[in-house]
């Protein structure tokens, strides 16, 4: 699959929408606003991330991983 795949785009859009609905339902307003306001960019990030090989990007060893 490539980044222009309609299937991948549709899947990711649906995923972001589901996340948005869950955030609204569970009262996670910060995340909900973010997912809503940046919807299209987030879908693009999601598509790029899903296509990327799964080699772990290690954070700086001198920073507590808060993610």
């Amino acid at each position: 699959m490539d980044k222009n795949s309609p299937e991948l785009t549709a899947t990711t859009q649906a995923e972001v929408l589901r996340l948005l609905e869950r955030c609204k339902k569970e009262g996670f307003d910060h995340a909900a606003r973010f997912l809503f306001r940046h919807n299209q960019e987030i879908v693009e990030i999601g598509i790029a991330a899903k296509l990327e090989p799964k080699a772990r990007d290690l954070p700086s060893p001198f920073v507590y991983s808060m993610q």
């Binding site: 995923e15 910060h30 995340a31 306001r37 299209q40 991330a49 990007d57 060893p61 001198f62 507590y64």
Partner: protein, 621 residues
Amino acid sequence: MRILGLSFGFHDAAAALLVDGHVVAAGQEERFSRIKHDATFPRMSIDFCLRQAGIDLNDVDHIVYYENALKKFDRIVWATSIRQPPKPQAPSTFSSKLRSLIAPKRGEHAENIPRYLHSVTHSWFKWDKFDIVSKISAELGVPREKVSYVDHHDSHLAAAFYTSSFDRAAIVTMDGVGEYETAVIAVGDGTSIERKLSINLPHSIGLLYSAFTAFLGFEVNEGEYKVMGMAAFGQPKYQDEVRKLITLRDDGGFEIDQSCFEFLTPTTLPYTEEFVRRFGAARVPESEFATQRSDLPDDVGEAEADEILSSSRHYADLAASVQLCTEELVLHLVAKAASLAGTRNVCLAGGVALNSLANGRLIREGGYNLFVHPSAGDAGNAIGAAASYHHRIAGQARMKSFDSPYLGSPLDETDIRQAIEKSGFDELIECDGDHVLAERVAGYLADGAVIGWVQGRAEWGPRALGARSILADATNPNMKRIVNERVKFRELFRPFAPAVAIEAARDYFEFEPDMRTDAPEYFMLAVHPVRVDKMSVIPSVTHADGTARVQLVSALSNAPFYGLLKAFERRKGVPVLMNTSFNLRGEPMVDSPRDALRTFSISGIDYLVLGRTIVTSRVSL
């Protein structure tokens, strides 16, 4: 009821299996994958737990993840917005009118996503972190209905209280950060846990300590115990400066002055320029540390030695200062928790609970009956998540208290044979019985040998407790340097812990041994002073400040190890051995005979003991 608890995705992935309220197996992924702090989906740990119980996934009633991923993401977005205030936002109601006002048009972006948040979002998509239930369901091929999650500190609270032997206790959890919470005070009673106080990001003891850990040149989430070790060489000269950063509140809470820290959106370093202005330049990672000439490598010249000694004293003083203030903070939280609970029974979990210096003070000065979950960090939340579900959702009876930390891989005789055969080591000594083994190994130890000791099931938690240990003679004054330099290849200042036969503990150390076999000293989680008259008797395990992180050993807690201590006592008159984790610097503890043989082959260990088989260091070519 069979409940599988999982922790993964951030650091220290692990799995634990609870069967009818009994933890039958628990394993950390790093032990199997051989990748230190492995955070990936703990497939090997899960397989181990199921194998150990003789069941498969179809037999598991429920699977529980250790935190609320989406709530954590909500916090990350919130934290980013604090650092980089966004343009006016729509309220959470998302009315259609507002929707039309702020929704981006097709092909355009409303505004740029801050880089930190962009990177987190990317990473979360990449590793499927947003919908953890779907991820687990897909990874294991189980229905979504079988999977759920609990909050991060609920997992810590459950790991701390339900696995203890207390019917009622104060509970304090402290770590870097979970979703929003960084510390919680609660009261445990029977099967219930009632929260009394939560402290949220950015106020965090764990992150405060981590910031100093990074400043002192050590890796965060790994080097905190090195800071504890370093503290012994210094004086708390900067305690007032560090105290200024912390405000203790009357309600038991605390606040951290944020001017010195970057806790909200850390990317490269967790401290600020203001921190450097107050405390000076950061220590260069991997640089030499020594407060006396004899601790420096022989090839260091006089001028360089003077410079190292001077800067080392400064960093040691800083370590002593942050350690002292952390202890004060922990004592403050625990005092409030105990007062709210109306009991001296106290349960701790969260990474900060591994601060064994603070734990020692809680026991000696606070007079608390302490229980610290042996795997107090996030790996321990695999048990915590399962325990929380067992009590609070499934409504089951109180689980069995946690009386043994030996929940990991068993030592299998066939594995031993096969691993030895493949290794090329061919000089073996088979011992007929534990007594014969103990006498022979005690003889080697008394003669100055360093022993790799692999017995029974592996330990749960970061401390080696006589199942996957490197052992040596605590009475030999050169042994600390020998093991640091030639065996573990690590910094020379690093201290080693003693294991002591229970009945001799008060002869050597200044504390009253607790008869509960789940007391912190059985899990090597409390530091106590060495008696003055014994410091010269066990010099290799007496730290620079005259303390030691003691492990109590009894026939009940670990029979083969206790037998070895007694056999050593018959040789040397001292029932104390140096006990350090069986690993090399930067590697996870060994788990299998194969791991042990590999480490044995590349280190300065003299004899490897696998069950009742002794392997010498000679290899046939």
